[in-house]
């Protein structure tokens, strides 16, 4: 009997790095030529920079190609032709899928895909799911409100492509979804960390069901960095009795990165389908060496209708110095997506990444899964307030938790917080992407 394959694509995922660079250059030239010939928006951008496809001769030439920012896409889509502006590279009749970004950083950007693009999007997800142990015998439950957002639509199609049985848990409330899991015994699930935690809390606290006794043995997360934050991952894994894996993707990019079954505290970049560059935020220099954080500039090589070429994602990442023991040669980004350039803010003169607060909150036993951070001003001085909930029955731990959380936050973020304890269940709950960090200074 033949051994079960470890890799979705054993050729691409084990390609030596020098061959990956050659493949990336070949594919970059192809997609750059495609947009130059088919997108008025891109052609005009490159003509203004004096660049043509003939200028891409070496890997180093790629870094001179102008970047595209989300704000540019928004602006161009405000103009005719509706709804994609001059970004579309194919006739409108070839577009079969519409999706849009979440709008968490401004007006949503619309994304058009051909059927080939849609095949490609689910292909990029198939790499992820196979690496995380999804196999044809898996029954996959997707508790996702299927709508204009791309997340999990492509996960759904990829699971089908692998041969899994997919249960669309769409228009059901959380309790009905828990009951469906109990009834149909799925082995895998996909969701945002916020919702995975919230489902577990509902099962346990409102239905008397311990989620770890259900049949889910692996969970793929998306949409938020939680599954790469060790304390949040641990909390999800303990609650569900399942392995939790992270992945990163975006509507206008594709599913570009994934954690493998070894959980190497980082995510593989799918370097056969994407080119990831890390740019120093201050100098704009491309960072090749591991250990230095910068923002991600990304290219998707195979998307036709609305290609993504040197897109300034604003995600903060860094290369991991160590290769993964799983055998994949695709490089790892250490700790996943660390944050976003937009989210990192100065409070009392100290740089603060909201994920650092989450890491502290989620590792303290006795605290509920929700929290909220509010930054405002008291006179001219910044003030930062952390609101947390104690789990039912843990009220007597308030004083000790207060001391612990204050110490840990000072250690990890170098800031002093006003700490507020709220009754369990009173802080806002989120189903998709949470908005727990509120900077009110900008509205003053």
């Amino acid at each position: 009997m033949s051994k079960e394959p470890i890799f979705w694509n054993p050729l691409l995922e084990t390609l030596p790095q020098e061959k990956i660079r050659k493949l990336q250059l070949k594919k970059f030239k192809r997609i750059f030529g495609w947009v130059y010939d088919h997108s008025k928006f891109h052609r005009s951008l490159y003509e203004r920079a004096g660049m043509t496809p003939a200028d891409i001769r070496s890997f180093e030439d790629i870094r001179y190609v102008p970047k595209v920012e989300k704000a540019m896409m928004r602006e161009i889509q405000q103009r005719d032709p509706f709804p994609y502006g001059d970004t579309l590279c194919v006739p409108l009749e070839e577009v079969v899928e519409f999706h849009q970004t979440s709008g968490s950083t401004g007006h949503p950007v619309y994304q058009a895909d051909t059927w080939q693009d849609w095949e490609w999007f689910s292909e990029s997800w198939a790499f992820i799911l196979w690496a995380q142990g999804y196999r044809p015998m898996d029954r996959v439950f997707i508790p996702f409100g299927y709508n204009v957002f791309v997340a999990f639509w492509s996960g759904h199609y990829a699971a089908e492509k692998i041969g899994c049985e997919v249960i669309p848990g769409g228009v059901l409330d959380t309790k009905a979804r828990i009951l469906k899991i109990q009834e149909l015994k799925p082995t895998a699930m996909m969701g945002t960390p916020t919702y995975i935690l919230s489902m577990a809390a509902t099962a346990k606290n409102k239905m008397g069901i311990d989620p770890s006794t259900l049949t889910i043995n692996k969970i793929t997360c998306a949409g938020e960095p939680g599954a790469s934050i060790p304390s949040t991952k641990k909390r999800m894994e303990e609650m569900w009795g399942a392995k939790v894996y992270d992945h990163a993707g975006a509507t206008e990019i594709g599913a570009w990165s994934y954690e493998c079954q070894l959980q190497p505290e980082g995510m593989h970049v799918n370097e056969a389908l994407f080119l990831v560059e890390i740019e120093d935020i201050e100098t704009g220099e491309i960072i090749e060496d591991p250990g230095r954080q910068g923002k991600m500039i990304i290219t998707a090589f195979d998307r036709q209708a609305m290609p993504c070429i040197r897109f300034d994602s604003k995600d903060i990442i860094e290369w991991d110095p160590e290769p993964c023991q799983c055998g994949r040669t695709f490089r790892l980004i250490k700790g996943g997506v660390i944050g976003r350039v937009d989210d990192i803010t100065k409070v009392k003169g100290v740089l603060l990444a909201p994920s650092a607060i989450e890491e502290v909150v989620r590792e303290i036993e006795g605290l509920g899964e929700e929290y909220e951070v509010v930054v405002d001003k008291e006179g001219d001085v910044d003030r930062i307030t952390l609101k947390v909930e104690l789990l039912p029955g843990k009220e007597d731990l308030q004083a000790s938790i207060k001391n612990l959380i204050t110490d840990q936050l000072r250690l990890k973020t170098n800031l002093r917080y006003n700490l507020e304890f709220h009754d369990y269940g009173t802080l806002p709950r989120y189903e998709v992407k949470a908005r727990r960090f509120k900077d009110l200074r900008k509205t003053h």
Binding site: P10, L11, L12, L23, K26, T114, W115, E119, A272, D302
Partner: protein, 58 residues
């Protein structure tokens, strides 16, 4: 085992399949059931190219 695969031969078969489906797609213009399904087959063939054909000549 994938190491034993003849990559060149597989690529030739992918290429031939694409050529056949492209020809079929052109032949069936005005026959939506065949035209649209051959278009979908071509999209799937593109996934074969991404997964294998692009690797040739590196």
């Amino acid at each position: 085992m994938f190491q034993d695969l003849d990559i060149k031969e597989i690529e030739e078969k992918i290429h031939l399949m694409k050529k056949n489906v492209e020809e079929l797609n052109e032949m069936v213009n005005g026959f939506p059931a065949l035209e649209k399904n051959t278009s979908r087959i071509l999209a799937s063939i593109n996934m074969l190219e991404i997964n294998l054909s692009d690797l040739l000549d590196l």
